[in-house]
Subunit: 325 residues, 6 copies
């Protein structure tokens, strides 16, 4: 189960030897600086080619969730893409916690952060640029308000005609800075219904994943989620699987097609920021007959909330239009 | 045949109303500024997702080649990816020529430029950033010296195990900022032989393309090149096809596999910067028995040189180690 | 070019030896009977398995269009599916014309008919049913009114995630009674936007076809339409190709992907009933900048109208809400 | 394990409030009527497009087997195809049992019924037809005699060149009225050997299924059957899996290819009507060295017979030519 | 059109400096020896791995047909598989003609030879074997008698479930000693009908080729044959294409599926030995309605006979049971 | 776990009724003869088509390993390819042991044998050859010296662009005499780096196998190896799985892609001769940070050594250049 590395909370004292900034700061190639000053030359391969990689966790009440798992996954992506960040995983964990500590005071009450590590390849043969990767550690408030209605109404999922890139093209398990495959898929969906979310099929026509989100179906009390071939190995996905198994719920990691999707009792997405969010319909076939979230989704949501000690659902719902935070 | 829009040459006066900079300048969202100051926030989707697109032509003796064709192709990519650069194609042509004019004096004698248009999607919901694309027009001296040996010895081509992304994932005809598919392919090849170039196969096992390069085979006096399904519609590729047809050489745009590759008489790559460069071998099977370039490659090279009025081969070879430019 | 078999027009005398019915009649296994009485046992394989085949042409001002081509295609489908209708193609042409003659008086002014041949496999081992196919020849007024807005506004095309069945499953060239592949695709699309039409991609991610409709793109004055691998060999598709070539327009039957679709200048669908109908957008990317229909679409539409001597566009537009026929 | 809903047996009194018909009756859109009068307009999408769905169970000694499982599966297909039958599953179970009760007296001694639910989409825009689905509940004597030799000699299986439709085309898990994919496959096989049965491969070249039949292999005492990707989730398949596991036999749901098929010790098909029937050979490679059925097949057959309390093997064999029933 | 290298005929004097053997002789690594003594160690990779390649032409009345084309194709296969036979193509032509001259006197009247070049890789690290390829040139009387009924009745073609190996596995254009893909396909077919011939589909479900045979369809007076992606570039195939074009018959090299096959008017196979042989049926769908061969097949056969100056049809038919040669 | 059939050791007396030969002997169609005299006519389908099959085990200190498993697998391949060797498995085991006994005295101290069964299809219609398969049982000293550096340094693995043949072409589970698919893959790799070994990807882009070798990855203490779809069911692979499970190590038989490969902690190959040999790198990504073999590889190697009672690692390392055996 998740590592329990808890860190800087709002009450925690800021790093001793400096002033707290009144804007977000980031770690950029070894220095702390205002985030807004962290900019990359367009000559950097990270800009020209999306030649970069990242990982992201979130805080719950200011505490980072499963940081080690995210850092480990980032280093796996780095190894796959042959990046050398120049810092060790342990050091990267300390840097990440430090960055959070320097920004935690800027969070509004009840808000939380995404906390991310990023790398770009750097430039080649440019006279005014060092030939070295750029490494960034940064945080950003979660878009809780923008997603409040998703938690109230459930997510409308559409499956675009664009397919998720298969492993022989690039492994979907790597968390890279190349998202155009999913962006063209999402544009297809958003052009039809701006409130819908895209979940792509894989090249065999089975459900794969959305941008940064894994999908689960519930049928007859069991969970079904795509096996790790055409999807990212989401940490939230893994958390849900662990919570389900702990609760005695059977989890099937397998190929699931649109028949499975349309005949499921419930569906939900998982992601670092959403944790668990109910799906209202897939291609118009609804799961909301008995109200949302469904029974199993609710049970797992409760377990997730308990695990992270933060009611992320309420956190979202408090931001619904008409509510005051 | 190619549009003949010729522009700023070295002798041409620089734009009247300003000083010539002593460093390269670029057009960035409407302003001319030193290129080294053109930087993009890491919050830009162009950095986070490679959510960008570009096109590139080159100069010959300082004259831009087929600029209209490149601009048109860039706008097709923009339409595919749903970018709005905010300027018309005609305006973009003028800007491009202006950028070249402002930088032409910085070119060493016998050097030439890549001249490129780029766009990134911009940021979303970041308090200190406008939600608008970033558009850049810039130029960069061609890496003539680095490629001189390729022109002398021919390019060693290896076919990696990674496959070129198929159209159902993302159209290979779009020239985007997402290159990781080709980068992981190239890393595979470079890890084995740092001097080799990768030409990827498509998902059916036929030859596709390399990073920014199309491939041609010659057999029995005819040309064979992959049809436009898994490859970029290269302008240089198109130029070669037109030159070949004008010379009475049959051109086959078709599926070609490793049998075709190994049994070809000659092979060459085309790209904006290389124009035509002979291939010395594919997976170790050589085309250099009769010396490089082969007869048909030579004939097309000569026609290309005549067309652009610039001996790009000599331009490269003058930069071989031991030669003085 | 099309066979010119013209037949029963409104003014033509009805078959001599019988009363004209005041309801549509059909030919059913050798007998003329009221269409409403033509019913099939649910034990027929045509019901249980969709084990049937059909072909459909339409009339223009009461004259059948390219009947021989449709009949020939029907017999090809029958041969593929191993049906024996028990009548010869020539006889089937006569029957078809006879059925039309018996129904032509029921057409409203300015209306036209679909005229179709159908077969189902019959039952097996059912005590009260003969073990023989059921053959039907019938006509039905075209849904001109329902499609009037399509001709005014153009068709909104969406590409669903469901793929067109490939030849190794069942040949898309056969016109069968098995449409669920396209129906589930269409349901996906209609669930999102009830006014949109589905055009499926093939298993390689290239454009294929919609229900009963072929797609054409126009770019730089040339036509592009999928080659006959994953699509029906539409007679209207063929008519357009012939008209285009006669007009000196280059026609490319080739693989076309979403990049081609989004970057086209114009697009249109062809079908027996629509003939040519402009496409307004594909996945939200519009072709209506310069008004609909585009220039080439208009030119081909005019040629089509001239060929069939019937302004099918006006025929539709007269039925727009607020217009009186 | 199977639901044990047992119903109308031969001895059971017929529904009180009516005469027993002397021909089979069916439930058709709410009414009981002679089956031979249940006919569908050719304008119904169920005829034109095979736009329908069904499920079928069978009786053993007049008792329905696992009716609830079949009804549930039917409703899943309905949901996938977006049909609304207008009756609830519970009601459909009652209707089914009622239809059986009204027909049970017509069964010959030792015969049994298929009992089926069917739906077709209905017509659209036809003046004399309601726009509503047609729903039918019906029963039909099993073709025991026709299959008696299969039980004596085993089934000769051939694998045709046609592939089973993959999920991206239409989910093989849905039990629809679109069977042409399997019919063209079967015609290929029957044209060669009229006594052979087709078992299609999936698009990857692994064994999938036959028309209405799942396949099992036995090797080294274990069962192997295709996983639920390219095959219907057969209730008989599920019954065999449950019986095997109860008997301590390992069951592998996995990809199996022709090597597995040819090197198996035994093979059998399962279907609603057959239950379990031994396979004599696959593409001429025989499993009959030690006599048919093989040891494991026999053991599962015995368990199946015990479960349903009906010796379906004897039931078939009694109908062999020369035997009197 | 074909090279016209004609060589040793029956009347031609045998090589001067030696006795004519009374058994067939072959050229084996530089020596002429009785064919029956040409044996290969089982340690040779040619035996262990099928690591070898060949090409075969035939004689007509003792004259070799298009030898240069076959030799050239053999050297292409050698280059693809990286074999070095140690002799030049010109030398190999002379050797081949010499081998024929030494064997021509053994031919029965009206018989003809296959004449073949073969290579195997040799052994590695075996103390008693040289590490060098084995090269063989040999001839063998054509199996005219065994195929006489094919010419009388036409060939029954079946399409097995096994698919032709795609180029990403091994190029079908290479003529190698690895035939198991086609052998398992043929066994599947022969197990059902020993008189039938297998024509495999490619991995997309289109017609590919049989063992050593290309397939042509005739429809509406045009020829259709698979494009050179999944099939050997047969010299006889090429000869037929050239003859057809010379006769004004349109030839389409394209993807053709079972729908095309079943709806063709005629079909025939081509191979070195058969030249052209009519197909009677494909999967039971016959082309013999109007008698065999069909009109276009007959026309091409006549042209082929004229070209090679040998009536290969009569040559076969004379060997029918009951005929005396 | 492995059968323990141990046989002729060096000390064991030779078969009584004959002289021991001073060269290796083999069993060839029922006779013992000097291996060097076992030769096959080039007319044998085994030469022309690679129409043959084999299996191979090895000795450890002169004792055969898991002979029954190998013989059983050979007979499965024979059944798949429809060979009849004319001897029973039990007899084949006795023959194999006899062949070993007759050759064991020729082994150098510390050497071991491959012991193999082979079959070729025989010739057809050749006047001087029987139409019967050729069956060979033979042994060959292991190439221990040639592989010594692999055990010291680990194997450099490269993934070629050629894909492993899929089951629809020919089942990779059959151990045949058709190796060209793997040979062209290996040539691709060896042309780049003669010391590297090829491990092919399957047609989906997942790791498959090398020539005669299975691959395992180690990550987080668990084993990952391709499932039995695109790979041979190696006996050594099976042995490792059994040893791992016995040691409490989790074994995952699943799809693994290049991301898994590059991010693994360790990797090793298994084969009959190698048993277990560490992989040093895959496409240049190394596993040697902590020295080779890695921890888990070492543990399994030790268990393997204990099982076979032979330190195969030391056996190899003793043959390193500079070591004396």
């Amino acid at each position: 189960m998740p590592d329990t590395a808890t860190t800087a909370t709002r009450s925690k004292p800021a790093p001793a030897n400096q002033q707290l900034a009144n804007q977000r700061v980031a770690w950029f190639n070894g220095k702390i600086m205002p985030e807004s000053e962290v900019r990359i030359s367009f000559r950097d391969r990270g800009v020209k080619y999306g030649d970069g990689a990242f990982d992201t966790t979130r805080t719950f009440n200011g505490r980072i969730f499963r940081l080690k798992d995210h850092i480990d996954r980032w280093y796996r992506t780095l190894k796959y893409l042959r990046f050398d960040p120049g810092v060790s995983p342990a050091e990267m964990m300390r840097i990440t916690e430090d960055v959070l500590a320097r920004n935690i005071h800027l969070l509004d009450k009840d808000d939380d952060y995404w906390v991310s590590q990023r790398i770009t390849r750097g430039a080649e043969g440019i006279e005014y640029l060092p030939e070295a990767p750029n490494v960034i550690v940064e945080c950003l408030p979660l878009p809780l308000k923008a997603r409040a209605t998703q938690f109230r109404d459930g997510i409308k999922v559409l499956t675009p005609s664009v397919r998720r890139a298969p492993p022989e093209v690039i492994s979907p398990r790597a968390k890279t800075h190349n998202y155009l495959n999913m962006i063209v898929a999402e544009q297809e969906v958003k052009s039809i219904d701006p409130t819908a979310w895209a979940v792509l099929l894989d090249v065999n026509g089975n459900l794969a994943e959305g941008i940064g989100a894994n999908i689960f179906l519930v049928r007859d009390g069991q969970l079904f989620t795509p096996r790790l071939n055409y999807v990212l190995a989401g940490i939230s996905r893994q958390t849900v699987i662990e919570l389900a198994r702990a609760a005695g719920i059977v989890v099937n990691e397998t190929d699931i097609d649109l028949y499975d999707a349309y005949t499921a009792d419930e569906a939900f997405l998982t992601s670092t920021s959403l944790c668990i969010c109910p799906v209202r319909s897939i291609n118009g076939t609804g799961f909301d007959k008995g109200g949302l979230p469904g029974k199993v989704t609710k049970r797992l949501t409760d377990a997730y909330i308990k695990l992270v000690d933060c009611d992320f659902v309420a956190q979202h719902l408090r931001r619904l239009p008409g509510k005051s935070v």
